[in-house]
Amino acid sequence: MTDVSELKQQVRELLAEHGRLTSDVSSLGDGDDLYRAGLTSHASVTVMLACEDEFDVEFSSDLLTKATFGSVDAIAAALAEVGA
């Protein structure tokens, strides 16, 4: 299982590549609202798929919620839950 800080850094890299945020991801705190930072519905889908590819995991349906992709912390927590 990936170290949490390393997990968050990888999540940030995936957000930078797929999130299409209006704010630079490096300017966001781990708990900052990604939707306020410009994460759209479609981008949240591609971020989810990118996370699954990067970590070779699959999000269960109960984790496919707005809350799961709301922050770097939340995404990292969900990834840890599914074994990243």
Partner: protein, 150 residues
């Protein structure tokens, strides 16, 4: 209550109210997602019938349908990234004349019923041009005496 006040109260509870949802989706984003994630992206967002649009209308057609799903979610008050409703529970189909309409399944249908939205009246209009797709959804909020008990 006066006669006028009474008439207004009756109108508020018996007159259907229009509800609306609107969304935009860029086509290049959908193209990129199809290229990068393929079937996993398609199966996450679109029903088998909707996926066939990729063959006939390309990524622009898919983008319009994604926008339509989001527009309906906003109409239902559940809009937002991913949301808690499966995107495939909001299905865009075409009537015999080619006009798009929406069919709600599962949680989306349940939510519409709880909210008192007459799903038979949900109307859709889709468009795409210049790399952007848009959709608007309109429905009627049932009068109080026709809403399902909560």
């Amino acid at each position: 209550m006066s006669g006028h006040e009474g008439a207004l109260a009756v109108a508020r509870t018996t007159t259907p109210r229009p509800l609306v949802g609107l969304d935009l989706q860029t086509v290049p984003e959908v193209e990129s997602a199809v290229a990068r994630f393929g079937e996993r992206y398609l199966q996450h967002c679109y029903t088998p019938g909707e996926q066939r649009v990729l063959e006939t209308s390309g990524a622009a057609g898919l983008a319009a349908r994604f926008a339509a799903k989001e527009a309906v979610l906003k109409l239902l008050g559940a809009g937002g990234p991913i949301g808690d409703i499966d995107l495939r529970a909001i299905e865009v189909v075409s009537d015999p004349g080619g006009r798009p309409r929406v069919v709600l399944h599962g949680a989306a249908a349940d939510l519409a019923t709880r909210l008192g939205i007459d799903t038979e009246t949900i109307d859709l209009s889709l468009t795409h041009d210049g790399g952007v797709a848009a959709a608007v959804a309109v429905a009627l909020d049932l009068p109080d005496d026709r809403k399902a008990p909560r």
